[in-house]
């Protein structure tokens, strides 16, 4: 015998199981197909849940990590003062702090088209806005940013001028619209343009993530607001993000539950197939026992058959689910590479694990029954 054959025969239960499965290929294939469907159901639904959740999180935008500070009801100044902004800067250390002044105006194009836009004056625009075309200057001194959609409606292109309060600003970049709540059409210009206003309408602090944002909220609360007094109103959307996450966790669990049902059905099919095949081979197993094969060895052989069905079904199912995942992410997020993330890949692992576990559990009873059949009874057939 070759070396490879020597090696595989170190695991006789596995070799015997493999050969036994090969004896009735159609039955093996059908039993495996059931497992494949179960795995695809679990893994694909899991991945779909992840894709939907990621998409929803993306839509909420950077809001979760942004802290917005406005003048509170107990404040005696109009808006947030420069002193307060400096104080905030000293508290949050590294995170960008962007004071804003806001207004609104109507922009009109040469051919008479009009658009109502909110006007935001900032200094460091790049901390808040992601530019799709053009550039986002670190310090917005002269130019302007405009939301894509508005620019299209008015026929404004990069470099074209827009007018606010009698002054011209060249559009230097186009930003995505609809990024977060309440941001429809927006014109972003240097804060100097809104100089007539006293104080700032709001201050946005961009934290590294939702957790840090919430930390910032509590730090600022204790720094500026004593007791019930609200000098500054400090808000953050992380709590919304948390609610959204917990909703999707529930949704995912429900989806997995549905997937698990199909795997339960598949394992019942495995139980049936294993039971039938051991009953058919009763005499043969009797011969094995007669010639001195131990009960545990028969048990291992039949469990190995069940495990093989699970492993094959699991591998094929995981591969199919991976393909499904690529399609799901491509459709929902326009980026199929997201499927490589652990959040979605782990569902392939879950599917595979469930498949093998369910198959082995289904094999237990037939294996136990076959192993404990008295050889003299089994030989009688």
């Amino acid at each position: 015998m070759s070396r490879l054959a020597d090696l595989v025969w170190r695991f006789p239960s596995v070799v015997m199981a493999w050969r036994n499965l090969g004896r009735n290929r159609v039955r093996t294939a059908l039993a495996t197909l059931g497992i494949v469907i179960g795995v695809v159901a679990i893994a694909s639904l899991g991945i779909a849940g992840v894709a939907i959740q990621q998409q929803a999180t993306t839509n909420l935008g950077g809001l979760a990590n942004e802290v917005t500070v406005r003048s509170g009801v107990d404040s005696d100044t109009d808006g947030v003062t420069d002193e307060q902004v400096d104080a905030i800067r000293s508290v949050v250390a590294d995170a960008p702090v962007v004071p804003k002044r806001t207004n609104s105006t109507t922009l009109s194009s040469r051919d008479g088209e009009e658009a109502f836009v909110s006007v935001t004056g900032v200094t460091n625009a790049d901390a808040l806005y992601t530019v799709s075309t053009g550039d986002s200057p670190e310090r917005l001194q002269s130019g302007a940013l405009l939301t894509n959609e508005t620019a299209q409606r008015l026929g404004v292109e990069l470099g074209d001028p827009v007018t606010y309060d009698g002054r011209l600003y060249r559009v230097r970049g186009l930003v995505e619209s609809g990024d977060g709540f309440g941001s429809g059409s927006e014109l972003v210009i240097p804060i100097a343009a809104l100089d007539e206003q006293e104080g700032y309408d709001s201050v946005t602090i961009v934290a590294a993530n939702g957790d840090e944002a919430q930390e910032t909220v509590s730090t600022l609360e204790s720094r500026f607001n004593e007791g019930d007094e609200e000098k500054l109103s400090i808000t953050n959307f992380a709590s919304i993000q948390e609610n959204v996450n917990s909703f999707f966790d529930t949704l995912n669990l429900a989806l997995l539950g549905i997937g698990a049902i199909s795997l339960v059905v598949a394992s019942v099919a495995i139980l049936n197939v294993m039971l039938m095949s051991t009953i058919e081979r009763r005499g043969e197993i009797g011969v094995l026992r007669a010639v001195g094969i131990r009960r545990g060895e028969v048990l291992r052989m039949i469990l190995a058959e069940a495990a093989f069905l699970g492993v094959i079904g699991g591998v094929v199912g995981a591969a199919a689910s991976f393909g499904t995942g690529l399609i799901i992410f491509d459709l929902l997020a326009d980026d199929y590479t997201l499927v490589f993330g652990w959040a979605s890949l782990r569902y392939l692992g879950y599917g595979f694990g469930f498949a093998v576990t369910a198959s082995v559990l289904s094999g237990l009873y037939p294996a136990w029954k076959a192993a404990n059949d008295l050889p003299v009874e089994a030989l009688r057939g």
């Binding site: 006789p12 094995l288 007669a290 010639v291 001195g292 094969i293």
Partner: protein, 224 residues
């Protein structure tokens, strides 16, 4: 030699079956022994208890009363797991319907009883046994590529793989034509001497009786 000549013995063995409230006595006190190097045939009409007797001798079943001795040891009250170990090391089986596993080659079928002893490679002995029964060129054939006589020779080789003291044959020529049956019996006779085993064969076949050193007749569960 220190080995007792009688390797397997039944002493006043009784076997009763309970079926439908009725008690059937398949064996009614049988004394039987077989020695190394002899072939004993057990003959008798169907229903006389031949199969039951072979099951007791083969340690596949235990008697309701009486004693089973293997190499002088009382194995009557052995558990199923202990009996499995004894069957594995001491007893070889040859069946009327061959009972080879279809997905294994001839050589693998011969190795089957020792297959799970991964510490011991029996492939050389398997090939040697197959050569001795004239199947040296059929090692890698599967049972469906072999004739009836060839299958029975593979079965005989399988029965001898673990160097047993006893070879039990249940109608070993029952599925074979007369000429093939004769070659199988020649083979058994030769191996009986070479391997110094006791052969106990249950049969209707008079041809087999000719080859036997001794015959016992069983009628209604009693040896005549």
């Amino acid at each position: 030699m220190a080995q007792p000549m009688t390797v397997i013995a039944l002493e006043n063995a009784v076997k009763r079956y309970h079926t439908g409230g009725e008690v059937i006595e398949a064996l009614a006190g049988v004394d039987f022994g077989a020695e190394r190097g002899e072939m004993v045939t057990v003959i008798g009409p169907s229903g006389s208890g031949k199969s039951t007797m072979l099951n007791l001798v083969g340690l596949l079943d235990t008697p309701s009363e009486g004693v089973v001795r293997l190499d002088g040891r009382d194995v009557t009250d052995f558990s199923e797991d202990q009996l499995t170990e004894e069957r594995r090391s001491e007893i070889g089986f040859v069946f009327q319907a061959f009972h080879l596993l279809p997905m294994l080659t001839a050589a693998e079928n011969v190795e089957l009883p020792s297959m799970w002893d991964t510490a011991r490679d029996r492939s050389d002995r398997a090939a040697d046994l197959l050569r001795r029964v004239g199947l040296g060129d059929r090692l890698d054939h599967t049972p469906d590529e072999l004739s009836g006589g060839q299958k029975q020779r593979v079965a005989i080789a399988r029965a001898l793989i673990n160097e047993p003291d006893i070879l039990l044959a249940d109608e070993p020529t029952g599925n074979l034509d007369r000429d093939t049956g004769r070659t199988i019996l020649d083979e058994l006779t030769r191996l009986k001497r070479d391997e110094n085993v006791a052969i106990v064969a249950v049969t209707h076949d008079e041809q087999l009786v000719e080859y036997a050193d001794r015959e016992v007749r069983l009628v209604d569960g009693v040896l005549q």
